[in-house]
Amino acid sequence: MDNYPVLIVVAPLLAALLAGFAAWIEERLSYPIALLGLAVSTFAAFEVLMQVIFFGPIRYEMAGWPPPMGIEYRIDLLNAMVLLIVSGIAFLNLLASYESVNQEIGDRTGSFYSIYCLFVTGLLGVTATGDLFNLYVLIEITSLTSYAMVAMGDRDRGALASLNYVFIGVIGASFYLLGVGYLYIQTGSLNMTDVAIILQDYHGSSTVLTAFVLCMVGVWIKMAFFPLHAWLPNAYSYSPVVFLRVVAPLMTKVMIYVMIRLMITVFGFNYIFKTLNFADAVVILATVAIIFGGVMALAQKNLKKMLAYIIISEIGYMVGGVWMGNQLGMTGAILHILNDALMTFAVFLGVGNIIYQLKDVDFSNLGGLFGKMPWTMAGFVLAAFSIIGIPPTCGFFSKWYLIMGAFEKGAYHFAIALIISSLICAVLFFRVFEICFFPSSSQDNKQKDVHAPGKIEEAPVSMLIVSGFVSLSLIVVGLFSGTIVNMIILPFLT
């Protein structure tokens, strides 16, 4: 069918609306509706990826108007891959979260599913669109839903964390909008490819430079790149775990995608790396981000917060890889979008299962988890290995490309930072394993009665199956890294 590209975005939106209806009429229907919508979206994304791989990029003209006048969806290999990641992870997460939603959200699950679908719609739309302003509107949908979700989690501190997130999020989105305005005044167009063609004549213009800086700062705020990261740890650690499992792997990765898209498609590598010369500064900033994230993670006493700082460090990997400006670095960064999404998802699935049983992931509560939740912890360990970068898992391969890219460019500090960061991750995770392995002595007596050692108290089966599936896929993706690079990333870059 020709309409698959738009179906990817429309199906979750339709599901969100119907779930919103169902919330008022028959609340139990919301869950299957949302699940169905995301399943359709995933299927369409898969079909689109296949079409793009075998027949080349797809263009879809909204309302039948040709591109510079109308809005167009332009799906090439990079889009198609990110679309499949986003819809797939959102679908799998929803599959695993029926019980935890009931536990955490309680009396308004229908509206929750509706907002969840809207969030996914926003992410998918951001990824698929070929229009600069459409991108802004969809970023706002994702932001608004995240504000609501963050405040839903922790009853006490959620609202304040969310309000601070609103301020920073609005500044980020507005900077992006200003950047688009500066581009528009110089080019008169909003379509990405059209803008790129016109921009070739304006490389020396101060307006274009300002537009580029504004767009980048806006996107960096949204992805929590190093000096602009302050909102992320609080916002993530107070949001409900169901939402955390989808926002942590996807939001930052989609923003990285937006950065790559702006750099490659709109401004062009020639402009960024030949005309301008602050690529080195950004790589240094990324290096600082990696080290800073790792060091801050060492200081945390809560699993959620620790993972939040690891995410900041991972953002540094990808931004650094992209700004390396050579093919190896870019390959590593794009491969890392896939790998990092998968492994963050896997690790947060583990966290979700633990929270489902324990309500809390302070390190002091985690004692004896290997005995209590063996399957969950098996998945968690695999994900952790991948984040550290131990060979058969996928995390190793993208790091390898990134390090190779750094050597080619001569950015040795970046390569060293990557290795240090891997060591820090190893320390972090083995510390967690150690805590989880031995039953903690500090547990009070009441808890000891309930959680007698050796007694297995696992999370619900649906959560375990998804967790196992994703953890195994880490190895599978790792083994097929070469295929992915050859079929998707290299054809895209050349």
């Binding site: 309409n3 738009v6 429309v10 939106l13 339709l14 969100a16 609306l17 119907l18 919103g20 209806f21 919330a23 008022w24 009429i25 879809y60 003209e61 909204m62 309302a63 039948g64 108007w65 510079p68 006048m69 109308g70 809005i71 009396d107 308004r108 509206s111 929750f112 509706s114 907002i115 809207l118 719609t121 302003f133 459409n134 509107v137 969809l138 706002e140 949908i141 608004l144 839903t145 504000y147 609501a148 405040a151 839903m152 609202a159 200003l178 528009y184 005044i185 110089q186 080019t187 008169g188 167009s189 016109i198 213009s205 101060s206 307006t207 430079l209 300002t210 537009a211 800086v213 504004l214």
Partner: protein, 274 residues
């Protein structure tokens, strides 16, 4: 914090001012922004869509996909306010006024809700005697505001206005009702459930029109493909499609404005407000 503020603001201002250096003059009719696609819009919109208000034509047709997500943003805001604030717990204390005598009863926690027939009137905690002039004026005004809102929605093709503005005006007429009488009156007229359903319905109308276009074999939101469904006036089919989506936007915006107001002003308890 103030110092940091000055630095950041100064930096941002400097970057932005630097960027204005290469701008074309303000009001220059030959600037790139006025020449590239906007020229096509102005010169072709009337021919292609039969809608004289170019802004509406671009908003609802050429860039109709944006507007759909704009409506989705509004829906999200309503949903978010509901999720954040709605509080289903019963309130503990209540106040009743005995209408003939003006005696006020304060019913404390745990007591049954007073059911004293028509003589007892439930009232807000910060109750003030309602003013006859305000009530009467608003009562006369509200229907006209609503008619005007409908006019704005329906006439968006020919004059400034459209679904969003009409929806906001209609929504503010509901808010006026809540302010001039009290919140209970509004909630009694339009229940929370209806508002929720309307908000979803409005966006669904928009999306539905797009999906029908797709099912008729066109692209998403390609109103021209609706022609077989509407046998009369196929010349203006795009204008009719736009009217359809404007109605959807209007419904959604009306409902969401009311939802946000009710939830904020009553802290989500839907009992008393301004």
């Amino acid at each position: 914090m103030k110092f940091l503020g000055f630095i950041v603001v100064g930096l941002a201002g400097a970057i932005l001012l630097y960027g204005t250096g290469d701008f074309p003059d303000w009001g220059d009719p030959y600037s790139p922004a006025s020449l590239h696609i906007s020229k096509d819009y102005i010169e072709k919109a009337l021919d292609q869509t039969k809608v004289p208000n170019i802004v509406t034509a671009v908003l609802a047709d050429y860039r109709g996909f944006d507007t759909m997500f704009e409506t989705a943003v509004i829906f999200t805001a309503g949903l978010a306010c509901f999720l954040l604030l709605r509080d289903f717990r019963e309130k503990k204390e209540r106040f009743y006024r005995h209408t003939p005598t003006g005696v006020i009863l304060h019913v404390k926690a745990g007591k049954k809700i007073l059911d004293g027939g028509k003589e007892f009137e439930y009232m807000d905690k910060d109750w003030v005697p309602s003013d006859l002039i305000i009530k009467t004026v608003c009562r006369i005004l509200i229907p006209f505001i609503q008619i005007y809102a409908l006019y704005v929605v329906a006439h968006g093709d020919f004059s400034p206005g459209g679904g969003f503005q009409g929806g906001v005006i209609f929504g503010s007429s509901l808010i006026l009702l809540a302010i001039s009488y009290n919140l209970k009156t509004l909630v009694k007229r339009i229940s929370e459930k209806m508002l929720g359903v309307y908000a979803a319905l409005g966006v669904l109308i928009y999306l539905g029109i797009g999906v029908i276009c797709m099912l008729m074999g066109g692209q998403f939101l390609d109103y021209a493909k609706l022609a077989p469904l509407i046998p009369f006036d196929s010349n203006h089919i795009r204008a009719l499609g736009m009217l359809g989506i404007e109605i959807g936007v209007g419904i959604a915006v009306t409902a969401v404005m009311a939802i946000i107001y009710i939830n904020i002003v009553s802290e989500g308890r839907h009992d008393e407000g301004l």
